[in-house]
């Protein structure tokens, strides 16, 4: 820590003193904001303890604190606060049980001169369902208002710590000079020592491949990334490393899929957020998550921040103002888990929400449709239309978090339902247990439905009985140009529980469907 202390001090002071976006007028609500419900008090170096904020005198409740962003790690025994050990943790956390990542974070805290640190495993009572829901719902405030977030990027588990052995520096490395002579002409090439890059050390790090960490990163006002071979700094206005302490050139950050989402911080309208949110979800669904039930809670803090800025209504992972586009997702993940196939997966969201699945996916936006339809005409010659009218959205929450877990949800809408006849291009291994080729879920439409010789595909979310000859489908939206139309449909299955009640089972994108009129529409409920 000593080796990089001067860099860290410089970044902190620059950010604090001259970054408007990072200070009280920017993302952080208040430099002296109130401590979270519980924090770790590091006043005693040999006996950190859990500090209950509400039990402290008022003047002690507004103190700077840091927050830890870390991988718990699979399979290991984790030190957590529970209902049983809460009192003991308040008296003092047993040092011998504290994992290395926490100990390293404590050291960083002390070097920053900050007394308190928030760590999810210790500051949320992990076996108290209500406390977990209540506290995890406050992630937005906790990370936003932290003086700094300490990110243990390289550690795959809490036992590995923040400070990795720097193998890259274990041998002195200098420039290498090569000289060539050709036809009497002599040329020299000097190879220069490489540097740890943002792409390799931050984006590919074990930490940033975890779903929970996405919002922790996006909500934080300042982050100290403890990567494998270097310490990196990230705030709204500066990204740097100990190798490039004055700032990493923008070009090196282009590969960062999260960079664009910083746009959320400056966006105020629902319209501006629309496409950025879909991109964010696409990225989010590629990240690992241990409990599928956390699919919505792990994004809840970010949803709250956007809700506060736009006033839009959050519905099971989507926004009411752009709900139709939000329904256009199709799965792109390769593996099925057996619990998905056997319908044993815990309920996480209504079937129309991306949060109802465990796999990565992509949305079909107007931009994507434009690409699909080709570039012969200008965008102005194209007509992008929604074919459904949302009449009502109903969400039943599972707990106190308005952007967290849901128990059930439905959309009542007016739209056109049609039957899509299908032929199966490959046998569907229904009843199989594991690892089904996603290609087997692509079913081509019967030739009679195809138009213009284009490939029409139905992408089913889960394997279905191959003997099914047709599926009902709801037209969602279409893009038409002078000579062709491309239509996005939701593939449905009647629930059998109520008339006109359906659940989503896939998505289809078709060429050349004939237009429909208002008379063709009917009212259905999607659950």
């Amino acid at each position: 820590m000593q080796a990089i202390q001067s860099f860290v001090a410089g970044w902190i002071s620059t950010c604090r003193d001259s970054h408007a976006d990072c200070g009280p007028r920017g993302i952080r609500s208040d430099a002296g904001s109130t401590l979270p419900t519980r924090v770790i008090d590091l006043e005693s170096s040999d006996k950190p303890r859990l500090f209950i904020t509400k039990e402290a005198p008022t003047d002690l409740r507004s103190q700077p604190y840091t927050a830890l962003s870390h991988c718990w790690g699979a399979g290991a025994q984790h030190l957590t606060t529970t209902q049983a050990n809460l009192e003991q943790m308040v008296r003092g956390i047993p040092m011998e049980e504290i994992p290395q990542t926490y100990l390293d974070a404590f050291e960083v805290n002390r070097s920053l001169g900050v007394r308190y640190i928030w760590i999810d495993a210790l500051c949320i009572i992990q076996d108290d369902r209500y406390d977990w829901q209540f506290e995890s719902a406050k992630m937005c405030d906790i990370y936003r208002d932290a003086y700094c977030t300490i990110a243990a990027n390289a550690a795959q588990s809490n036992g590995q710590g923040c400070f990795m052995e720097k193998h890259g520096l274990s041998l002195p490395t200098n420039s290498c000079r090569l000289v060539a002579e050709e036809n009497g002409h002599r040329s020299t090439v000097v190879l220069l020592p490489p540097r740890p890059s943002w792409k390799n050390q931050i984006l590919s790090s074990p930490l940033n491949n975890r779903a929970w960490v996405l919002q922790e990163r996006l909500l934080s006002s300042r982050i100290l990334h403890f990567a494998k071979d270097a310490v990196f700094w990230e705030c709204s206005e500066l990204k740097s490393s100990q190798f490039e302490p004055n700032g990493i050139p923008d070009v090196k950050l282009l590969a960062d899929p999260v960079s664009y989402t910083y746009a959320f911080r400056n966006l105020t309208s629902a319209e501006c957020v629309r496409s950025a949110w879909l991109q964010l979800v696409q990225h989010y669904t590629k990240l690992g998550i241990t409990k599928v039930e956390d699919r919505l809670p792990a994004l809840s803090g970010l949803a709250k921040m956007i809700q506060a800025k736009t006033g839009d209504t959050y519905v099971a992972g989507l926004w009411k103002s752009s709900l139709v586009e939000g329904l256009t997702w199709a799965l792109s993940g390769k593996d099925f888990k057996s619990e998905e196939l056997h319908n044993e997966r815990p309920y996480t969201a209504p079937s129309w929400s991306w949060a109802s699945t465990d796999r990565d996916l992509g949305f079909l936006t107007e931009t994507d449709m434009n690409k699909l339809i080709g570039s012969a005409e200008s965008a102005a010659d194209r007509d992008w239309r929604f074919d459904v009218e949302i009449l009502n959205v109903n969400i039943q929450l599972a707990g106190p978090d308005p952007t967290g877990q849901v128990l059930e949800g439905s959309i009542t809408l007016s739209g056109h339902i049609q039957n899509l006849p299908v032929v199966t291009t490959r046998s569907l291994p229904v009843g199989s247990t594991d690892q089904i080729d996603p290609g087997s879920l692509k079913r081509s439409l019967q030739p009679g439905v195809e138009a213009q010789g284009s490939a029409n595909f139905i992408h089913l979310d889960y394997p279905k009985d191959p003997s099914i000859a047709s599926f009902p489908a709801l037209r969602l939206c279409h893009l038409s140009s002078n000579d062709r139309t491309r239509t996005c449909l939701l593939v449905l299955e009647a629930t059998g529980k109520a008339p006109d009640q359906y659940k989503r089972i896939g998505r289809a994108v078709l060429y050349g469907l004939a237009p429909v009129t208002e008379l063709d529409k009917r009212i259905i409920k999607l659950v």
Binding site: N153, A154, A155, Q156, M164, E165, H167, G168, L171, T173, N174, S175, C176, R177, L178, V179, A180, E181, E182, N183, T188, V189, V190, L191, L192, P193, P194, R195, P196, S197, W198, K199, N200, Q201, S204, S205, P206, A227, K228, D229, S236, E237, L238, K239, S240, E244, N246, G247, I248, P249, D250, V251, K252, L254, A255, S259, Y260, Y262, A263, N266
Partner: protein, 167 residues
Amino acid sequence: MIPLHSTSLTSLTLEPTTTVSMEQGPEHRRCERCRANSGAIINLRRSQRHGTVIVQETFAALESSAHKGCDLCRLLRQGLIYSTASPAEYEALQSGNQSVVLWYSPANTFQKGMFPPSTRDNFVVSCSVYPKWHMNLIPFHFGPEHGGEEPPSSSDDVGRRSGKRRM
């Protein structure tokens, strides 16, 4: 075992018209394999696409040579280590059996999303360890040696920095 040399001048004939020489002071040592590869590495700049040089048969061989003092193996080893994001990835690299390869990457290659982006031409050191292909950019410049310690500013550094960026 790869013998190391500390002679002051070594020459190697590559093609009928090309001769590579390496002036080496007593502090610069280079393994025989790298000495043999040097001309080919320089020629990567002129080669057609996909030209490569196998630097070492495995990362372990690269590490071994680096520990024995080869300056080029040390530099390339550092590049590959910096391409790993976790101790587990580094361990996998150490035990992998794939070749360490060097090739030339024109500036616009980064658009394919394979490398850490750069606006300048680079060499790329790479080694595949399933399921990941480790690679890192090796910046370079022409002309006289730069003291060997601190790399000079690259063209990336001249461009707009991330300071005061509005995203």
